[in-house]
């Protein structure tokens, strides 16, 4: 029973995290051999014949191809309607088999009555990508519980989890894959959900592999399955798995981050695939192409006026320049006129009339605030035209009428 981490295990948390972050951000070509070998192992475990592989340059291209294959002719060729429930219980140990069988049954029930286009979203893809990982993860969690004492478990698990799983998830899943997915969903396609993120699955794969790699757990054959997921994370981008075919996406060919590890590229795509598909982001915020590619000197305030998202607006201010922005307006009130609230000082509250930006109004008060988590970031939000003082503006923003509150924190 482990009660304390060794120095090597302690040091390994950060070392392993950094190693896996590189995997999640890797822009190298697909390792086709490793990709196909890994998927063949999974299909074999499920008692399926080896699939063929269709390589796509980007997740968007995969969406296009799979959407086309929803046509009846192709659907039959790829056997996408095949019910696999009776076959899948072979070749997997009892523990995993029972869990997977339950999930397969559910999926089959859910599929009954659905039309052809809905069926493509279920079936093998769900069962390979989702069910295996969830069930193996549960199994490994039990292993951790049984082999590491309660006392040390709670301490080291939270440390390992925050340093490996959460950190990588924030940097890879939240920062990269969520933005790609949201971007693709904006197209007119019937969105095909991805359950095998491969390169971008690295956060949870890294977490569990840490226990194995640094000797915190005895051998468990399920780790062999985790090693297949790890190989996939190292070898390819997103995958879409069906009965006879796996669609494999390339990794991005370009990826840019700032000093904090957030996706950031001023002047172009922050993340780009070889077919030209990509997204634009500044300091971790997905922004329209215009804001990313336009030089700061050429930015038009019309963009700021029409943008509704406060994070995008804050990035506009950061790029445009807070001084330049303030110079466009006329200061009406300032935190410097008050001393009753330390948070007014920290937030550098100012009330600024920005009516010069608008042709149809004579007075357009805006509340300027400094972000308390990112100090170089400012927010400029319109408040009601009746606001003549900071106190009125803050109460208007927070929908506070006659009550008074003491601010205890702003983040």
């Amino acid at each position: 029973m482990i009660t304390k981490l060794t120095k090597k295990q302690e040091d390994g948390i950060i070392e392993w995290r950094e190693h896996c972050l590189k995997i999640g951000r890797d822009t190298s070509p697909i390792n086709k051999e490793l990709t196909e070998t890994s998927w063949n192992k999974f299909y074999k475990m499920l008692g399926k014949k080896e699939p063929t592989f269709w390589y796509c340059q980007s997740p968007l291209q995969a969406q296009v191809v799979i959407n086309l294959l929803q046509q009846r002719f192709f659907k039959d060729i790829f056997n996408l309607r095949n019910n696999i429930g009776n076959n899948i219980s072979n070749n997997i140990n009892d523990n995993i088999r029972n869990n997977i069988w339950n999930n397969i049954s559910n999926n089959i029930r859910n599929n009954i009555g659905n039309n052809i286009s809905n069926n493509i979203n279920d079936n093998i893809r769900n069962n390979i990508g989702n069910n295996i990982s969830n069930n193996i993860r549960d199994n490994i969690n039990d292993n951790i519980s049984n082999n590491i004492s309660n006392d040390i478990r709670s301490k080291i698990r939270s440390k390992i989890r925050s340093n490996i799983w959460d950190n990588i998830r924030n940097n890879i899943s939240d920062n990269i894959s969520d933005n790609i997915r949201n971007n693709i969903k904006e197209t007119k396609f019937n969105y095909i959900e991805t359950y095998s993120w491969c390169q971008h699955d690295i956060n949870w794969v890294a977490y569990y592999k840490y226990y194995e790699k640094y000797g915190l757990l005895p051998y468990d054959r399920n780790f062999e399955i985790f090693n297949i997921w790890y190989d996939l994370a190292c070898s390819c981008g997103w995958c879409y798995t069906f009965e006879n075919i796996v669609f494999v996406c390339e990794k991005p060919c370009e990826l840019h981050i700032n000093d904090e590890g957030m996706l950031h590229k001023d002047g172009g795509m922050v993340l780009k695939y070889s077919d030209g598909y990509g997204i634009y982001m500044l300091n971790g915020v997905k922004v329209p192409e215009y804001l990313a590619v336009t030089p700061e000197a050429n930015l038009e305030l019309d963009f700021f006026k029409k943008e509704k998202n406060v994070d995008v607006k804050a990035e506009f201010i950061r790029k445009y320049g807070i001084s330049r922005m303030k110079d466009m307006g006329k200061k009406v009130d300032s935190y410097k006129n008050y001393s009753h609230d330390e948070w007014w000082v920290k937030s550098e509250y100012e009330l600024i009339d920005m009516s010069t930006l608008f042709t149809s109004v004579k007075y357009a008060p805006h509340l300027l605030m400094r972000n308390q988590t990112i100090k170089e970031l400012y927010h400029l939000e319109g408040v009601g035209p009746e606001c003549k003082t900071l106190d009125q503006a803050i109460k208007w923003r927070e929908n506070t009428k006659n009550e008074s509150y003491k601010t205890i924190s702003i983040k």
Binding site: N170, K286, K306, W343, I374, V383, N399
Partner: protein, 108 residues
């Protein structure tokens, strides 16, 4: 004086109690107190054993016997802060759009 906490567009205001007729919500782990319309990085309050969450006409109320926390899944934009033991009303900040000449909730 009653207290308030700002977490992005979310404003948690201390109140005397839960309104009569408010519906108790059964939640585990956390309650989303501010949606993220565009990024999925919503604002949450941790729900612990002694945390009660109520809703009345779309407004959330939180009663926590011990300190809880306000946080976003990705803390890069708004770091975590402590929510002291008390009863809180959840408000969303509003802004005025001088192009549309209308007020709306702040959205991120």
């Amino acid at each position: 004086m009653r207290r308030k906490i700002n977490h992005g567009e979310v404003v948690l205001k201390e109140v005397n109690g839960i309104p009569k007729g408010a519906k108790k919500l059964l939640l585990k782990n956390f309650v989303v107190v501010g949606e993220s319309e565009t990024k999925g990085n919503n604002h949450r309050v941790a729900v612990m054993d002694d945390t009660e969450v109520y809703e009345e006409n779309g407004t959330l109320y939180i009663k926590n016997e011990t300190a809880s926390k306000v946080f976003c899944p990705n803390p890069s934009r708004h770091s975590e802060e402590t929510l002291p033991a008390s009863t809180w009303k959840v408000n969303i900040a509003q802004e005025f759009d001088y192009v549309m000449m209308e007020k709306r909730n702040v959205a991120d």
